[in-house]
Each structure stands twice: as structure tokens, then as C-alpha cells.
Symmetry: C5
Subunit: 372 residues, 5 copies
Amino acid sequence: MTAAAKKRSDTIGQPPGALVYMGDKSDKEIEITISTYTSEKYNETVTKSLREVDLSRRDSQVTWININGLHRIKDLEYLGQYFHLHPLVLEDIVHTDQRPKLEEFGSYLFFIVKMLQLDGMEVDYEQVSIILGDHFVISLHEHEEDIFAPVRQRLQAGTGRIRGAGADYLAYALLDLIVDHYFLILESLGEGIEDIEGELLDRPSPDTLSQIHRLKRDTIMMRRAVWPLREVVSRLERSDSPFVQDHTLLYLKDAYDHVTMVIDSIETYRDILGGMLDIYLSGVSNRLNEVMMVLTIMATIFIPLTFIAGVYGMNFRYMPELEWRWGYFAVLIGMAGLAVGMLLYFWRKGWIGWRRPNPDPFAHLDLKKPRP
Amino acid sequence: MTAAAKKRSDTIGQPPGALVYMGDKSDKEIEITISTYTSEKYNETVTKSLREVDLSRRDSQVTWININGLHRIKDLEYLGQYFHLHPLVLEDIVHTDQRPKLEEFGSYLFFIVKMLQLDGMEVDYEQVSIILGDHFVISLHEHEEDIFAPVRQRLQAGTGRIRGAGADYLAYALLDLIVDHYFLILESLGEGIEDIEGELLDRPSPDTLSQIHRLKRDTIMMRRAVWPLREVVSRLERSDSPFVQDHTLLYLKDAYDHVTMVIDSIETYRDILGGMLDIYLSGVSNRLNEVMMVLTIMATIFIPLTFIAGVYGMNFRYMPELEWRWGYFAVLIGMAGLAVGMLLYFWRKGWIGWRRPNPDPFAHLDLKKPRP
Amino acid sequence: MTAAAKKRSDTIGQPPGALVYMGDKSDKEIEITISTYTSEKYNETVTKSLREVDLSRRDSQVTWININGLHRIKDLEYLGQYFHLHPLVLEDIVHTDQRPKLEEFGSYLFFIVKMLQLDGMEVDYEQVSIILGDHFVISLHEHEEDIFAPVRQRLQAGTGRIRGAGADYLAYALLDLIVDHYFLILESLGEGIEDIEGELLDRPSPDTLSQIHRLKRDTIMMRRAVWPLREVVSRLERSDSPFVQDHTLLYLKDAYDHVTMVIDSIETYRDILGGMLDIYLSGVSNRLNEVMMVLTIMATIFIPLTFIAGVYGMNFRYMPELEWRWGYFAVLIGMAGLAVGMLLYFWRKGWIGWRRPNPDPFAHLDLKKPRP
Amino acid sequence: MTAAAKKRSDTIGQPPGALVYMGDKSDKEIEITISTYTSEKYNETVTKSLREVDLSRRDSQVTWININGLHRIKDLEYLGQYFHLHPLVLEDIVHTDQRPKLEEFGSYLFFIVKMLQLDGMEVDYEQVSIILGDHFVISLHEHEEDIFAPVRQRLQAGTGRIRGAGADYLAYALLDLIVDHYFLILESLGEGIEDIEGELLDRPSPDTLSQIHRLKRDTIMMRRAVWPLREVVSRLERSDSPFVQDHTLLYLKDAYDHVTMVIDSIETYRDILGGMLDIYLSGVSNRLNEVMMVLTIMATIFIPLTFIAGVYGMNFRYMPELEWRWGYFAVLIGMAGLAVGMLLYFWRKGWIGWRRPNPDPFAHLDLKKPRP
Amino acid sequence: MTAAAKKRSDTIGQPPGALVYMGDKSDKEIEITISTYTSEKYNETVTKSLREVDLSRRDSQVTWININGLHRIKDLEYLGQYFHLHPLVLEDIVHTDQRPKLEEFGSYLFFIVKMLQLDGMEVDYEQVSIILGDHFVISLHEHEEDIFAPVRQRLQAGTGRIRGAGADYLAYALLDLIVDHYFLILESLGEGIEDIEGELLDRPSPDTLSQIHRLKRDTIMMRRAVWPLREVVSRLERSDSPFVQDHTLLYLKDAYDHVTMVIDSIETYRDILGGMLDIYLSGVSNRLNEVMMVLTIMATIFIPLTFIAGVYGMNFRYMPELEWRWGYFAVLIGMAGLAVGMLLYFWRKGWIGWRRPNPDPFAHLDLKKPRP
């Protein structure tokens, strides 16, 4: 988040539409996959540069251009010229801190979605731009990983309705794949929460605290990526764009339901995590109570005993008890009695737990109650 | 929740409409009950497979197909073909982590509701799918338990208006039964809250904390199941579907009122539970205060006395007091006086409670006030 | 609340419209008062059963039937038949856990309101159902107490516009009386809050905590009763029902303003009470601080002194100080100096309060600052 | 607030429109100022009773009747008769716990606003009622103070557009004056918050706590007075009343902006105060930590030393160390070493602050870490 | 904020439209830059007073008047007369505590925006007023710094579409520059949050607390400046003003997206900071726990040992152990055993951390558990 924002400051004063890629620059080549298909056949071309391939397309087939990697500005500019994309669209593609959004242009629809993937313990955010036009789809994303492989496999296999259903259904399939990945992150979050929940009540630790904090941050960040997507899908569904056919609407409605389920889960997790922090704080206070009780019991038993020992350690000449035959043993017995009395008192107070006498022992003791 | 979500990850990249049951798979047979009735008569057929029975229906009677158990995909596919259900509808039926929702199709209405039942201390969530068409109702749910038995009994008995009121009234009756079960859960939640409330102020324990946490989670989860239902019922009421007759609308309005009452109670419980956590924390702090007071009183009384005893235990050659005849007794009396003075001081401070002297004793003491 | 909800579970599976009274059953007779009036004269009949009286009414006069007690189902059924009330209306009347609501039927308006009365420290919730039709008003409530006596007295006296203003104005007058009672509860809440506020800052006690909790619950419950009423009155005001005359609208608007004022006060109290809990917690922490300071001061002064006394209580053969003539007195003076030094240190730290030296004494001491 | 509400209970059962003044009754005379002006000249009459003056007005001039004090019900009734005011309007004027509101009648607009003035540390709330009709404005408020003096001075001076701009502009000028006073209160709140902020981080005290509480209450109460005003001004601006001329609309829009700025500030203060309470609590905990560290350091150093002294104070016959020539000095040196070691340990732990060794010293110590 | 508000109190009772500058008065000259340009050429005039230059403009070129400094009221009045600005517009320009807003007048659009700049650690708020009319733009701001220099440079250079795109595009460019600066502040906030996050979990200090407080305040203040801007841009985009050409709308939409991104980030930061305060409080409690454990371990080990030493320091005549040959060594060994036992107990309890025995050792110990 902040990594991308850092780049923002370099663009101050630049005219809008200036192409400056905001993500991590890499030396890797970008990889471009061009798939053309009809319900009968499927062709695939993989290239390093858009200029080297034939982008001409026919109405009888659907063309899908997938670009992995955004750091080659020249290729994007060529793409923009070829498909007559607005400069602001190109700018949005390379400024990878955009919110998910949908924009309708005369000859194409442009939308931005966030792809979320688990990278170890961290959630990896990647901006995916999709352009849906007349019989073509262009998808662009930052990293070199081929996130859309499952869709391409379905295209190759030719099973299901995907090959015969047009460019809008392909765009939906990409969107659906991205939303499916959200469920993966949610599962991981849900497991993290269950793990914490277990140790929260049994043995809270500073580690638990930092995990709650991390999960809370994750839900906040994920929320930010998913909330605006709901509106994107909703507007896509309600738009009367010529690029979205009627029989695709039902699938978009399904995607909308899925996004709503994701949002629902995020909000539920937020609620639960919020409550956990309070529980943690209460648990820590409970523990402090316990520590203090141990100290208080020890101190309260031995401090008076030490005082008594101190009294008979005084060197006064006239201390009659010292001369008594059984004085020492009497004092020892007295001390033992005092200790037992103290323990009994703590037991009644419920601080020592081998058996609980009555539900509210305070009622019988008018001493040491906090002042009302 | 997470159990169902776990299955989600297996479906990534699959085309929409693929039927993969998400709940607990079981080896049990599914049980299908087909009821047909007019205002005059009632027929019931129980079967293990849809293929074995005659599903043809006449306009003069209402057909209700109730299916307990969703793990037999083949039967669902047969049902889908027979009633021309959309593939996404079938997918929603077996993906049991759906939100409650209503979808209108040309030849039927499809809605998803959550059945909540108490299973010991746990709330059991079950997805119920209801399809309402022209003179037929199909209801599907996960578990083998026959949750709709009371409605079937009313149909058999033939009392009330249920036999003569059409398929839409039957669908309403199923919905109404589900909402009635929510009140049961609410009662259980309400009792749980009252139980906690009692011990919260008298004797808070870590156990109370974990109960508050559990109840809070329950309200969060229940909220998630009930909130979207309100919109379902509202849209059902406002829809101009030909499958909902005018005289059923008033009953739907009644169901809407009930759902609103449930939501109202959930929000109230959430509010109360939220406050309880704060009260618990305050209660724990109060208790810590009490423990610390005991320690402070004991230490503050005996530490100076022990010091005095230590002084007269020193072995200096010239310590005139040691030679005095009544030295020992004078010291004992001095110690007793000191102890009484301390107790008096604590009594005035209100830390010892046999009688409270004045409302704000601090005003008289300029010592030991926390620094402003 | 939960008492009524408990009854809900008994009605599961029952057809809608079944009359089961949910409140406290009592053996008392119900009391029915029938008032008929024109601007000229006023008649009143008190009876135990509806069947014994003549309910026929003329357009030239207004008939008001007031029923105290809902446990006599037979009478309600008779009323329902006579006035052609919908079964769901009768069901709502006896299910006394309804939310306030307004329902428009062809020949009457039906609305439910909550009457709140102070019963000692507890708020007593009673459901009041009002049916407004052509020249008649029916009001029903649970308890035998005659809550509408002030309105009846105004009718008898014949002062003001009430006798000449029609049935809708009468219904308004009943509503207005109920809303007026809310102000009584608000006053009591406001006084409770002011009481707590006083002791909150001076001498917080566990008792304060339980009072805050109680008041918070009261506002939550009251909120639940009053929020929906606002919509009821608003819809009544905006409805184009023939039973509400134009010149009554202004009075309804006035009632709407009053309900809004009540809601405003409830929200304000909630806000204030929410803040109070935080203040309480801070107050308890302050008090703990104070207790700990006393302990720390005592221990920190006497522990080193006791150590010194212990040193000179050792029995080594060669301890030169013990032989000195003024050794004992030197040690006593040294101890006194140490104690004074400690007190001075605490005074500079601001823990002892006869005079505060400088605003931030920590700046001068580099010791014992918590580690940043 | 509660003072006014107390009076509410006296009006239960009274017919609406009954005039009972709810504010503080006083024996003072009310003061009535009648100003008539055209763009050329200005007349002013001050009287004690409305009956004594000529209220007839001409269309060529604007009449402004300003009444200080509402306890003379007779005068208000006369006013009501003369200007044909609705009884509910008169009731609202004397029930001084109204929310700000606007009501449109056929021959006049009636709106209620709250005047806020600083009275020492307290905020004083006063209800101001303004009636705007055809060429006249009536303003009524509770206290005898002449709050509208600045407007009257501008009328007398005849500068600016106020004399030539009609009754609606006069009403706007009164409203604008009231809103200007809100900024005064806001300034005072803002200064209070800045004062607290200073001591919050340096030296939090129970006093800070009570100040935060007071300021929080003030913002809650002020919010209650100002939020509804926004709607009043907005509706005034959007109303197509004949009494509001087009060229005044721009001024009303300006007033609307001012009210929005006030609301903005209140919400900001609320946010800041809410955060302050959390900071305070954290600060108190920090302080407790500090106190406990002092105690722990002292106790941890001296308790073992005292134990050693105690060992050599035992009276066993065979204790070889006691006979050694340098035993005493060896023990003293050993004690000093132990103390230095302890201090070093605390210094590494960062509890003693003359220099901090490494950012996380815990990494080197596997002892005493709280159990994860 | 409060500095500006302070000035408000001076304007009470003044007629609206009175020009009193609210910012810091300075003796510096104001600087006025007048740029006129067509797509072919660019002229620039810098002056100290508006009266000295020729403001006449032609339709073929765009005129941009930029004024740095608002304290020269005379110049503003001259500007107002020349361009026929409404008095309230001039008032809003000098009252620098306005909320961002858009106002449409017949011959110009007027909008107020807040420029935010980092001034060391502080955020500096400056009010920028922009007037967009037919072929002219007037921009006014408080400080002498030339914040719009980057736009002027682009005009001079003549690259991009700025020279040929009209006055509305210029106004957009100014707005865009201001929004770009918000990202700078966001970056700084984001870095601040990351810094705190690091130390929050490792080593929380009072300093961390005050930084959280500062950042929280900053987000609150920034939120206040940016939220209303969203509506300004949205209304600008949707307005059908003749001064905004169609091809500029797309750029305004882009600006709207940017403002939404800023708001999104602010809300995210608020959420994260809110959670941090809770984490901090938990961290402080953890630390207190740790301190208390050290104290409790030390006290609990040495207090009983000291008591034993005290017992054998008593001076009773008949104490048989004292006479035993190995009594002293037996006691020493006993003491060591007791200490080792205590350490073992604390180790099982998990308070001492060299190895953790079992996850929940409490299960084995029925002693000292807090009372349930």
C-alpha cells in the first residue's frame, strides 16, 4: 500500500495521462498470451512484444490478450494506440494503487479489480485491469505469474459453455476466478481466527496480541479491496452496454452474490476480531489478578510471622517469654495457627481453590470490601 | 462456517454451475416426501429416489416435494431437468454457504433461507432452498431431520386455511416455521445473557468471559443469517410475481414483521453483550483493587513494626532502651498503638469497611493523593 | 422481554392467526369500558363481557371501546367477528412482544404502541393496540390498570376540542398520552444519570457500575420500544386514510415531534452512559494507582531501614561499629536521614501532595522512567 | 435539560395546546420591543404589555416584535389571537425543550432555534422562537437579556442592506446572529480541548478525567441543539414559501454552510475527545507501571540483602563464618555486589534509564518473559 | 483550526459580506501573477496590485489570475467589482475556515478547496479559492508560497493538452495538483503508522502513545478537509454549467477517483490507528504483568526464607536446634531446598521461561486459581 503510494509523490505536477509504472520494477520480460477462439477451435500465441504479432481480429471469433507485467510502457502505449484506449485508462493501468472501478467508454468497458493471493503469511495484492470490447478482452496484471491459467485450460478443453458464450462471458470468467481466490484468503483468515480463539481463552500471550493485530490489518486491507468491487459488479450487471449480452447477466448476478458473501465474511471477521481484543485485555487483567493473589497470599502470611520472630529477636533485658521453658514451642505453634487462619481466610475469600464454600463469601465479611 | 468455506477452495477454476456439494457428506440415503393435496384430499409418497415416482402434476392440486439431504447430486440433476431449473440454481442449492436470497425466474421463484436449530449449546446452521412455481413447491435441506413435519401435519389434518390456499401459502408456511425457530434460538440467547448478567456483577470469572465471547459470536453469526432474510421477505412481498397471490401478501407482511422482531432482538443482545464486556473488565479491575488493598493494608501495618523489632534486635553495646525495666512492654504498646493508628487511617480512607465515616475523606488528607 | 419470548416456543408449527395470549395470565376479570359521545353528550358503560352490551353505533356519535386485560380470548374473538377484524390483527393483539407498527386495512387502521410505566426502579412494558375505524376506536392493553383515565376525564368534562373532533382525534389523544408517559421515564433516567455522575468522579464503587449497567439496559430497551413508533406516527401522518381527517394531521405532526424528542433524549443518554463506563474504568485505575502508591511509599521507606537494622543484628564477632559509643545513635540518625530523603524524593515525584514543586519533575530525574 | 423535562410530567393528560411555561418562572416583567422600519426610517417602541401598543401594520414597512421572557402567558395568548397563531405554535413556544424545527402555516413560517451562550464554564441553552409572516417578524426567547441587540443596532444605523431587504432578511439576520454565537462556544470547547491535550500527555490527573467528561457532555448536548438546525435551514432554503424572497436564498445558503461548519467541528471534537479518554487510560496504566517498577526495584534489591543479614543474625552455636576475622566485611562486600548486580540487571531490562543499551534486551534473557 | 475560529468571535453582529481576513496577518506584499495564453503563445505579468494591470480579456485566450496572500482587502474588493463577484463569495475567500464547497453563479463557478502541505512534522492547512468563468480562472490562497508553480511551468512549456484545452481544464489542473499533494501527506501518515507499528509490539513507550494520538488527530483533521471535497468534485462533474466542457468531464471523473482513494486511505488509517491504541493498552498491561511477576517471584522466594532466619534469630533460652552441631547447615540446606521448590513451582506455572513444560499447567494445580 504505502510502497505504491510512495511513487505517487514523484508524479506531482505531471500532466494526467503520463505513464509512470508504480509497482515494483523488474528486469524480467513481460509475457503476452493471445488466444483466439470460436466454439469450434482455439488458437494461442505467446510473445514478448505486442508489435511482433498480428492483432487484427474478426467478428466471428473472440480475441483475448493477456499481459503479465506492466513495466514495459512502450508496449502499453502501442496497445493504447491500436485499441484507441483513452490516456487516462493507460494511466490507471500502470498506477497500481487504484480502487476497483468500472468505466464505460464508447467502444469498450474498462474495469479494475484486485487479485489477492496468499504469499506465505502475507496477503499479496495485485491490480488486474480488464478491457472488454467488441469481441475482444484484454487483461493486464503486474506479476509474471499466470493467474488466469485455469480459464485458459477451460478454453483449450472446450468443455462447458465458455467457448461459445462470447467475450463478455470470458470477462465474467476472469472476474469469477478472482472472486474465487478471495474465498481462499477468507479460509486462511478464518483458520487464523480459530487458532487464536483457542489460545485466547486458555493461554493468552503477547504473541496472540500481535496475531490479532495482523489479522485485523488483513481484514481492513481486504475490505478496502473488496467493497468497491461490489459496486463494480453491480454496475456491470445493470449497465445496458452493448458488450454485455443478456444471458451473461445471470452469471454476473451470481458473481455479485459471491462478492456480497465475501464482504459479509469480512465484516463478520472484523466483528469477531474486535471482540477478541477486548477479551485479550480482560484475560491479561485476569492473569495480573492471579499473579497479585499469589504475592498477596505469600506476603500476608509471612509478613506477620516475620514480625513475631523479629519481636522475640529483640535484645531487651527483661523479656519474660524468653525465659519460659516452652516459650519457643508456644511461639511456633502460635505462628502455625496464624498461618492456618490466614489460609482459611483466603480460602473463604475464594482465592485458594481446593473447594469453593459459598457463592458469595463477601456477604459474611464486612472487612476489606472496596468502599462504595 | 469455515468448514463450508474450506470446500470453496476446491472449486477454484471450475465453471459456474458445476455441482459439488459443500456440506458434510454422509452415506445415508436421502429421503424424499412428495405431498399432493387439494382442499378435499391429501396424498403422501415417501421415496429414496426421484426417478421412481410420478412427478406429473395437475393444476387442480398442489404438489410439494421435500428433499432431506443434498449429497445425491444425480437426483438433483434429474430434478433440475424435470423442472427446467437454471444450473446456477442447482449450484446454489448444493453450495451451502450462500446468503439468504430471492431470485425470480420466468417459471418459478427461488429463495434460500437458513434454518437455525439448537444442538446442545451450539447453534446448528442448515441451508434451506425453496422453489415456488405454478402449483408446486420444492423444498431442499441438508440434514435428514424432517424439519417441516409440523406443516405436513397441518396439511394432513386439513384444518385452517392451508389446504385451500395454494402453493404460495405453503411456501409462506415453510418460511414462517423457519422464522419461528429463530425465536427459540433467541430465547436461548436471552437466557444465556440473563445467566451471565447475574454472575457478572456478583462473581465474575474467566468462565464468564468465555461465555460472553461465545454468546457474542452466536449473535454475530445469527445476525449474518437473519439480516439478508428481511430483504428476501420484503422483496417477496413487493414482487408482482404471478406465483404469489394477493391474499398471501398479508401473511408475508406478518412474516416480515416477525423477521424484523428477530433482528431487533439480535441487535439488542449485541448491544447488551458489548456493554457486558466493559462491565466485566471494570469488575476485574475492581477485584484487583480489592486484592491490592489487602496486600497494602497488611504490608503497611507490619513493615514498620518489623522495622522497630529489627532496631531493638541490633547488637550495639550502648543501647540504653534495652536496659530499661519496662522497655520491652513500652515497645509492645508502641507497636500496638502504631497498628491501631494505621487501621484508623485505612478506615478513614474507606479501605476497611465496618462503617463509612464521610463521603469524601480525601478532602481532609492532603497526603498520598495522586499528583494532578 | 424474555418472559414473552418464552411463550413463542409454544406456538411453533401453529397456523398463523391462532390466538394464544403471551403475557402473564391472571384470574382477574377483564374490564371493558364503552364510551359513546357527541359534542353534546357523553355516555359510559362498564362491563365484564362484550356480549352483554349493545355495540351498535351510529354515525352521529363516536364509540370508544377500551379493554383492560387480554387473557379472555373468547371476548377478543367476539370483538373480531363483530368488527370484522383480520385474524392476524387478533393474533398481534395477544402476542404482546410485537414491535410498534401501523397496518392499514380497508375498514380500519390498526396500530400497536408500547406503554411504558415506572414500577419502582423497573420500567414496565405494556403493549397497547389501537383500532381506528369509521366513528369508532378500540383500545386494548394487558394490565387492569386504567391507563387512559385522563382522556376519559377530558371526554366527560367536555372541555377542549376532544368531544367535537371525531374518532381520529381520540386515537391521537390516546397516542399523545402514551408519548407523554415516555417523558416521565426519561426524567427518571435523567435523574439516575445525574446521580451516578455525581458519585462517578468523587467515589466510584461497584455499585455505580451496576447502576450504569442497569441504566444502559433501560435505554437499550426503551430505544427498542420508541424507535419504531416514530415510523408509525410518520406513516399515520402521511397516510391518506379516510379515517384520518385533515385537521388532525397537525396534531399528529406534533406527536411526531414529541416522539423525535424522546428518541433524541434516549440517544443522548446512551452516549453519556457509554462515556461513563470509560470514566468509571479510568477512575478505578486511578484508585489502584493511589493504593499502589501508598504501598510503594511505605515499602520503599522501611525496607532499606529494616535491612540496616538487620545488618547490625548480625552476630559476627568482629563488627567494629557495634563497639562504638555513639554507634546506635549514629545509626538511628542515619535511618531518619534516609527516611527523610525518601519522602523528599516522593514529594518531588509528586506522589505526596502537600505542595507540588514543578509541573514535570521527571525531566530532572533520569532514573526509573519507563523505558521508551 | 432535565430541569425542563421535569415540568413535562405536570402536563400529562392535558389537552394539546394548553399553555404551561416550562422554563424558570421569574417575577421580572417581560420586555417587548416593537421596531417598524422602511428603508428610509426606523421607529422603536419598548413596552411591558402587548395590549398597550398599536400592532397594526402597513405593507410598506416591516414590523419586528421582540419579546424577552415567556412567563406572561396572557400576553402570548393575546399575541396568538392577534396574529391568528395556531394553539400548537403557542404551546411549542412555551415548552422550551423543543428540538429546532420549521413549520409552515398558511400565513406565516414558524421556526424554533436554540441560542447557546457561555455562562462562565457552563453552556446556557435558550429556546428562541421566530415567526416570519407577511411584512412582520416575531421573535420570542426566555431570558430577559437582549440577545438581538446587534441586529437592532444595524437597523438603527441603517447601514448595509438590512433596512431595505424585507422581513425575510431580518429573520435571516436573527438566525445568522444565533449561528455566530455557536462559533463562540466552539472556540471555548476548542480551547478546553487544547488545554487538556497539553496535560494529558505530560501529567494526567483525575481532574483531567472530569474535564474530558465535561467537554464530552458539552459536545453531546450542543450536537443535539445544532444537528436539527441544519435541516431547518435547509428546508427554509428549499421552501417555496411566499415569505422568503429569492434574493434571500443566497444568504440562507450561507447560513446553511455555517451550520454545517459548526456540525463539522462538533463531530471533530467528539472524535478527538473519544480518543483522549483512551489515551488517558493508557497514561494511567503507564503511571501504574512506573510506580510498580519503583516498588519492584526497591523490593528486589533489599529483600535478598535483608535475608542475608537475617541469616547471620541467627543464634546457632556453630556458625563458622561468624568467627572469621573479616567475615563481617566479606558479607558487606557481598551484599554490595549483589545490589550492583541487581541494578545492572534492571538497567539492562531498561527499567532504570541513564542509558539504554539495546532496543530489545529481552532477546538475551530467557528468564521472566511472560509465558506465550 | 482554533486560531481561525478565534477570529470568528470578532465578526458577531456584523452584516454578512463584511470583509475581515481571518488568517495570519502579515506585512508582506501580496503577489499577483496574471497569465494569458492561447494554444500558440503564453504571456505572464507579475504585479503587486491589481489596479496597475490591464485585466481586459478576449475570448480567444484564457486569463489566469493567481493571487498569493489575502490580507489586502482593497485588492479583493477591486477584483470583486471588476468580475462582479457576489459579496458572500468575497467573504468566503477571506474567512479561511470554510469547508470545501462549490457554488454556481450565473457568470462563474466558485469553489473552495483545502491545500495540505507538510511543514516538518505538522500538516499545514491553507484555503484555496478558485473562480472559474468564461475564459478566465482566478485562484486565491493565503500564503505567499507559489503552490501552483508546476501548472505554470506546464503552461510555459506548452507540452500536453493544457494550453489548448480551455479555462475549465486549467481549473481541473489546479484541483488535480492539490489532490496530488494529499497523497504526499498520506505517504507521511503511512510511514508514521509503520514506524509506530514496529515499536508498538516490541517496545511500547509513552512516546508511542503520543505519536498515535498525533497521527489520529491528523487523520481526523485531514478527513475534515477531504470528505467535503468529494462532493465538490462530484457536483462539478455532474453540473451542466456552460463553463465545464464535455471533454473535461473525464478528467474530473479521474480527479473524483483520486479523492475517493484519498478518503479510502484516511478511513483505513483511522481504523488501523484505532486498533493500535487498544494494542498499546494491552501491551502496557502485559508489561505490568511482567513487572509484577518479577516482584512476586522475588518476594515469594525470599519472604519465607527471611522468616526462617528470623525464627532462628529469636532469643529464647530453650531452642534445641540452636545447640545442634549441624543445625546451621541443615537450615541452610532447607532454605536452598525451599528456594529451588519455589522456582520449580514458578517454572511449572510458566512464569520463568527456560522451557515450557505443558500447554496448560494450571490443570494440574488446583491452588491459586482465580475464583470462578
